[in-house]
Symmetry: C2
Subunit: 304 residues, 2 copies
């Protein structure tokens, strides 16, 4: 996938590649394997976190923080924190009692490669690591900023955010009727919450003015939804070997998705329009926000 991005959008391709390398290195340094039975837990965490992720959320933190001159090492730590929450959710969502997936990023999922107990604990430990990372003075010298980041990420990870979204998603399989509003709300919690946090984190770290934050949050809102519709399109019409995970599972389970409700063409139109809107919200930032613009376009180009 990265090859494809690099040929179409070289600046974004390079930024994604550099972010992936930097985040891998940070995980590598953070996840030192202890010499006792905990070794297996930390190895499972390394297996889940290092290599293979798109690192879209950390890139959003970097791209947003760059608008306000935030030092790169602070942005990378906040990026690793949100990636911890993302990896946590992938590990737990793949469990047999949840989505029961055996493949992720082209490799066996954590509970297959290790076992279920290790997968539950590894997911838990990533949640804790996210907040440990944010609360550490290495992430920002001002405790007010750190505390703000923790509060926002905790809200967006729990019952009022991502975990709540996954609950709605599990319930959606059983529900006969789920309209566009309900699917939109579900995805806003399940995937949108972390995308909004990532864009907001750069602004919080950079002590951005209120109007800049409002524009960025409006951008993130559109981006999150565009990104999810593109994900649904990949699930409905994508190539399994490219995606590195089982596809067509939404339809098989009768899960309501944007594609299921709108059809492929209208879903694609909707995603394009959301990417346009996302770009519109960046108009006051000038060329400094080109990377964020590229990300919005990339989000909806991924499925082709």
């Amino acid at each position: 996938m990265l090859d494809q991005v690099q040929s179409r959008r070289p600046a974004l391709g390079q930024a994604l590649a550099e972010t992936a390398t930097a985040i891998d290195r940070l995980f590598d340094r953070t996840l030192a394997v202890p010499r006792d039975s905990r070794g297996r837990l930390v190895e499972a965490m390394r297996y889940a976190a290092i290599g293979g992720g798109k690192r879209l959320r950390p890139l959003l933190v970097l791209a947003s923080g760059a608008l306000f001159g935030v030092p790169r090492n602070h942005l990378l730590r906040a990026g690793m924190a949100v990636e911890c929450i993302h990896v946590h959710s992938l590990i737990h969502d793949d469990l047999p009692c949840m989505d029961d997936d055996a493949l992720r990023r082209g490799r066996p999922t954590v509970h297959i490669a290790y076992d279920e107990a290790v997968a539950v604990l590894a997911g838990d430990a990533f949640l804790a690591l996210a907040f440990e990372t944010l609360a550490s003075p290495s992430t920002h010298p001002d405790a007010q900023v750190r505390s703000h980041l923790v509060l926002a990420l905790a809200r967006r990870s729990g019952a009022a955010g991502m975990a709540g979204g996954q609950m709605l998603d599990l319930a959606a399989e059983a529900e006969a009727e789920l309209d566009l509003d309900a699917v939109t709300r579900l995805q806003r919690l399940k995937t949108g919450a972390l995308i909004r946090w990532s864009v907001g984190a750069g602004a919080i770290l950079g002590d951005a003015p209120a109007d800049a934050i409002a524009s960025l949050m409006a951008y993130a809102q559109c981006l999150g939804l565009a990104f999810q519709i593109a994900d649904d399109l990949i699930d409905a019409a994508g190539d399994e070997s490219c995606a590195g995970k089982r596809l067509r599972k939404d339809g098989d389970r009768g899960k309501k998705t944007f594609v299921g409700l709108l059809g492929i063409d209208r879903a694609r139109d909707r995603a394009e329009r959301l990417a346009d809107q996302a770009e519109d919200h960046l108009r006051d930032f000038g060329p400094a926000a080109d990377l964020l613009r590229d990300i919005a376009r990339f989000a909806v180009e991924r499925d082709r």
Copy 2:
């Protein structure tokens, strides 16, 4: 159990009862049930968190913070945060892939009363709620204090703390030889970490001087170990209907415990000695620390 405490140690009995009521009320206010499919998730969280817990960790926060004149509402919020982590660990440890327990506090465990997916998500949401609670300005006006509390609790919940301890515990079932040092290290992570945080949190919230913190942490270290040995004694020799959970499971699984390694009499002696040492560390605090002393005695009296 509370009746027994109240007759032997009336002040502690009253403190436990008051803390339980206050923590129940705080959970009740915090866990408002949404009117959509997330309702089931939040109901499961209420089921796990409200009613029935000893609230020993919140009481430790209260008793330690009282030494430094910390307002009670701040202490209760920190107490709820550590109780969130505790409840999180109980829900996940009870899962079929972990300890596979069907009974907890005399009631079906969360994955039995609801289902496994809800249990995984409820545990996750409690982890997030703990950090949301600590990072909120209602817990303390100084962000430095909030950030410190988050950092310490995150470290003690993850791979280097409680989750790591549970991993050691799962591995211990398979290991032929586990000596006293190894069992001590395991329990220091698995149960000691949260007890140390609880005692430390009162001191952090009260901006306590370094020597007071050192004494309290030494107290907490002894208390945590005494508490765990008493737990092992209850498992080996206690009454199932009093404990409200399945007992005798450690021996059945060949798990190495203090009782298994020392025998009942020597384990009880060891616990008593640790409670004495815990009390010794409180000598500079005078009668203000009587509640902490009572807790140390209570920890080792529980099994009789």
